[in-house]
């Protein structure tokens, strides 16, 4: 039988996430005076530590909105969705969703999708290691066998689709000292992967998102090519040249 949670820990936990709550009963200072500021150290450690973790995970979102706005937004998220795992690298998977519904970001409709791209980059960083198939091995597949081939993609491969130019926004904010102006006219789909130790991000050709999504499901190249429009040569060229394939079953 699972023992009941310790009620003192439950009261302590509830007060940690409620900034207006009084410290739980049963705590004392050596002088028998108030313990509010002492308890606040724990509350501050919990919340600030989690905000810092999000700031590290979503640095471009931080640059887009500024530190003060980001930290206020992250604080709301932390209180609404504390982590479920002691591994902080896994914290924040629902942060993009939170941003999408966070009213003060209405002026920045692309922000949630940029956050999804940053989350994908982090996933690729920590993904299982695998050795890509050498380019010669990929090229050795006869053209007439390619349609029936099933690709195993690198475990780090992530794809993100957006109505906004998220790769352009991310690139200029991640690398440029003076941020370039980005036209919001067209959307961008992005391939993220880490074939070795560096995470890379590439713009997907037309139809690339659906094509790769189908390959990830284990479909053959021809079955995955049913999407329209699709620039198949460009998609295959990108997967080959980025070392995104670890095995081919023909």
């Amino acid at each position: 039988m699972t023992p009941l949670p310790d009620k003192n820990c439950t009261a302590f936990t509830d007060a940690l996430f409620n900034p207006n709550a009084r410290p739980p009963d049963g705590l004392k200072a050596w002088h028998n005076g108030p313990v509010a500021k002492r308890f606040a150290v724990y509350r501050n450690n919990v919340v600030v530590g989690l905000i810092d973790a999000l700031a590290e995970r979503f640095p471009v979102c931080l640059r887009l909105v500024g530190a003060a706005f980001f930290r206020a937004m992250a604080k709301s998220f932390v209180r609404a969705s504390p982590p479920r795992s002691p591994i902080l690298a896994e914290y924040g998977d629902d942060f993009p969703e939170f941003i999408a519904t966070f009213d003060p970001t209405r002026e920045l409709p692309y922000l949630a999708d940029v956050a999804r791209l940053e989350w994908a980059i982090g996933r690729a960083y920590h993904a299982t290691d695998a050795t890509p198939l050498p380019l010669e091995a990929v090229r050795a597949i006869p053209a007439n066998a390619l349609g029936d081939a099933i690709f195993t993609l690198h475990p780090s491969v992530q794809i993100v689709s957006s109505h906004f130019p998220i790769l352009s926004i991310w690139s200029t904010n991640a690398f440029d000292i003076a941020v370039q102006e980005v036209s919001l006219e067209r959307g961008e789909d992005v391939l993220v992967l880490r074939p070795d130790l560096e995470v890379e991000a590439y713009l997907l050709p037309p139809g690339g998102f659906s094509f790769i999504a189908a390959l990830i499901k284990g479909e053959t190249v021809s079955a995955a090519s049913s999407t329209d429009p699709l620039d198949l040569p460009a998609c295959l060229g990108l997967l080959f040249s980025t070392a995104a394939i670890t095995a081919i079953a023909a």
Partner: protein, 302 residues
């Protein structure tokens, strides 16, 4: 130790950490460590930072582990928690410890999870019979699963519990006695807790059950004040070790003799040279402790 000696330790699990100074490993120091191959006693990592599947964190640690002794320090097991240990987390830890075969694994007398929420801080435990039995059972469960003795660290605390019936030292000693675990003595935590809870850090060091201690931690703290304007020190790991803590360390060394000592610096991380200099200061005190021990041994032998 010569560089060549270090390289021959490749992958062999050490029985214990060397009685030398080590530092917390940070990825931003990796290139400098590989380039300069510093003569450091050991590196320590936080278990939870190495629980991703792959990527640079594991690539770097494998490289470090090939040349140096390693200790793994957990911050997420919640051994003092009010809910049972997370079995998935224990399995992840088992995988990590099996993979890197560290010389030691340590955790905290604290809790950091409640139910399904992870609270990302080392929260305080009341010291009474019910919590003692819970911690003892959790330590036993961890030691059985990891198939090794673990070390448990004394916490930095900002307040106390009305329900406590043990002193912290009695509580830790009883856990070590019942489970056979070792203890990790964090001298900065002693100083921080002593100021915050108004007891003598010197008396604490003098009374601590050193026979269980296998590692010492030293770190920087920051200063604040409480509701009555009394000093409130924060265990922030964000600056050099303070002089008061160095003095307490020397006091502890006279009781422990030379012992594995870690410089912890986790926030506002300095350049490698600054961190290394802290370790060299600890190493100098350890060398002095070794000489004293040798003299004492000589005196006894005569």
């Amino acid at each position: 130790m010569m560089l060549d000696d270090r390289c021959t330790q490749n992958r062999r699990p050490a029985a214990a950490l060397p009685a030398r100074a080590g530092v917390g490993f940070k990825g931003l120091h990796f290139a400098e460590i590989i380039r300069s191959r510093p003569n450091i006693g050991f590196f320590e990592i936080h278990a939870e930072n190495l629980m991703g599947a792959g990527g640079p964190p594991h690539a770097q640690l494998s490289r470090i582990r090939a040349d140096y002794a390693l200790s793994v320090h957990g911050v997420g097991l919640s051994i003092g928690g009010g809910t049972p240990l997370n079995p998935r987390h224990l399995e992840r830890l088992k995988t990590l410890v099996d993979r890197y075969e560290p010389a030691s694994f340590s955790e905290h007398l604290a809790w950091s999870s409640h139910g399904t929420s992870f609270l990302n801080d080392l929260l305080p435990v009341a010291y009474h019979m019910e919590t003692l039995e819970r911690v003892v059972s959790n330590v036993q469960q961890v030691q059985e699963r990891l198939n090794r003795r673990i070390l448990l660290e004394n916490p930095a605390t900002y307040l106390e519990f009305e329900t406590s019936t043990f002193s912290e030292i009695e509580f830790l000693d009883e856990i070590a006695r019942r489970t056979g675990c070792g203890l990790l003595l964090d001298i900065t935590n002693v100083h921080v807790s002593a100021v915050n809870n108004y007891f003598s850090a010197e008396a604490y060091i003098d009374a601590f059950p050193m026979r269980h201690v296998e590692e010492i931690h030293l770190a920087g703290f920051s200063c604040d004040s409480d509701d009555l304007d009394q000093p409130l020190l924060i265990d922030a790991h964000c600056r050099p070790v303070a002089n008061e803590v160095w003095a307490l360390y020397q006091r502890a060394l006279t009781r422990t003799g030379p012992i594995a000592t870690l410089i912890e610096w986790d926030n506002d991380i300095p350049s490698w040279d600054v961190l290394h200099a802290q370790a060299q200061r600890a190493e100098a005190l350890l060398t002095m402790a070794k000489k004293i021990k040798a003299r004492r041994f000589h005196a006894v032998a005569q």
